[in-house]
Symmetry: C2
Subunit: 309 residues, 2 copies
């Protein structure tokens, strides 16, 4: 990972000073780099890490960083991971351009090295992610989302990137199409579990003190709420929907929605769904031969979805 970080820093360099300044800033506030780790460990499980794996991990991280920078515009998030977002500091216009620049760096890295198999996987992820986010925005207006649509949204906006990490890792080794597909499926299931866990956080289901009720405020309907609504009678349903539609800025109303979800067993239902995805992911991983990589990948999955049984 140290080698990766040095290379990644180098990739983000630009002749334009303002851009260089922003890049340094982005590198400093970088997260856990979970996605490159999935790439490396997936490659390890499928036969070993090589130069192409390194480039694949960089491509994924550049794409992910570009998405985060664009998300700062998208979410109007002024605060991300305790730093002010690039967006808040340099405004929307720069955030869009920096995101585009990062994406192009990733593309060029792949094109220059003829990593076309990686490019294919990643282009598809860009399409899926933007389409998924747009679907979520479209549905947030209508509040009429079904479980099926919820799964489609999180599959596209979150799980597709995690699936791509694992597919890129496998694809960077000389794996067969079938192996690559299996690793993609593994990553997708991990991504689904990860997003459901993240959606559970919004109901205060953790000990890390993340802010609660943000999704409700933004009218994002997630699994716990969708389930609870499906179990409610007509009057209750109408009441809750009206709270979300008209009073989602009101703390008391948000609290009422959260209590309604808890009372209806929405949290347990979502946890079960999450565990199901987790177990399915593990079944796939267990088909691969034992190795240190496999043990680490399994531990990374546990860490990622922070399972506290």
């Amino acid at each position: 990972m140290t080698e990766f970080e040095l290379k990644f820093k180098d990739l983000m360099k630009s002749k334009v000073k303002l851009l260089d300044h922003i890049m340094n800033y982005i590198v400093k506030r970088k997260g856990k780099q979970m996605r490159p780790m999935f790439v490396f460990l997936s490659a390890g499980v499928c036969g070993g890490i090589n130069e192409s794996t390194h480039r694949g991990a960089a491509l994924i991280e550049l794409l992910h960083t570009a998405t985060l920078v664009h998300d700062d515009v998208v979410d109007d998030a002024n605060y991300r991971r305790g730093f002010f977002s690039v967006n808040a500091l340099w405004k929307n216009k720069i955030a869009v351009l920096v995101g585009d620049f990062l994406l192009s760096r990733g593309l060029l890295l792949s094109v220059d090295n003829n990593d076309f198999h990686l490019l294919k996987i990643v282009s598809n992820a860009v399409k899926e992610m933007s389409e998924g986010e747009l679907l979520q925005i479209a549905k947030a207006r209508k509040l009429d989302i079904t479980e099926e649509v919820y799964y489609q949204i999180i599959r596209q906006k979150t799980a597709s990137l995690m699936a791509s990490c694992c597919a890129v890792g496998a694809s960077s080794t000389a794996s067969t199409e079938e192996i690559i597909l299996r690793m993609r499926e593994f990553g997708e299931k991990v991504g689904m579990a990860f997003q459901i866990k993240d959606d559970l956080f919004d109901y205060g289901d953790d000990e890390i003190g993340k802010p609660v009720g943000i999704d409700i405020k933004e009218k994002k309907m997630t699994l716990p709420l969708i389930y609870a609504l499906s179990k409610a009678d007509w009057f209750e349903k109408r009441h809750i929907i009206s709270l979300i539609r008209n009073k989602s800025d009101n703390k008391k109303a948000v609290k009422e929605v959260i209590d309604f979800v808890k009372k209806s067993g929405g949290l347990n239902y979502a946890k079960e769904a999450m565990h199901r995805y987790y177990e399915e992911a593990m079944v796939i991983l267990n088909q691969f031969p034992e190795s240190e990589y496999k043990t680490s990948l399994s531990a990374l999955v546990d860490y990622t979805i922070e399972r506290k049984k």
Copy 2:
């Protein structure tokens, strides 16, 4: 072009209804599709139009459309070509996602058809364009831009895409690297002339009644102004810079800057530079054998930079 438009419309389809709705809207307000025409005619000049040319033209137009949509965020433009921008209608967040979606469609089209030579050209254009725009923003803050930096900015932000159009056209035929490079150079020079012409419009140098003084308002230093400042004495220079820095919202101040530029011969100087690029482009084009394509390409260049001698 009719065949191209049908294919292009098809490419913009999505399963997400909101997205489909926006795409229809974008297709309706589409411009002159000058860039695909450059791709087709360049291919024609280099040997003939084929399937790969069609995909190249679509890739370029998708990229260009993505850039326009992102520009709506970037420029805070609420009004583009007489329609309300996607940005104003659906807000920043959607504009960013739609741009990303369009870009990914273009990438996938190329990847799926193994058009890697086209992808290389276009990835580079994305990098150049975002870097050029960021350079312009960085320089707009300092107002200390030289002619050299001006040329670098317009080469990156505008000419690189036109250069890519012609390179993509040539590359879609079985042309040699040398021919592709020559066509790229031709396109770059056309793009430079095109941007200088566009910058001249801001000083009211046309009969089409485009709004005047917008660049000055946004503190964008273009060639006519840069030249005029270089000829001014210390006191005048300080006065004009102070007008731009502090009073660019004031109509009278903007008028004063425009008059200063006209008086100093800034418009003529920029026109000469534009003609130089035009002539250089034509010298390159004339090295190619005569054909209907060549005649049309030459006419398209004349139309593009609207030369009124």
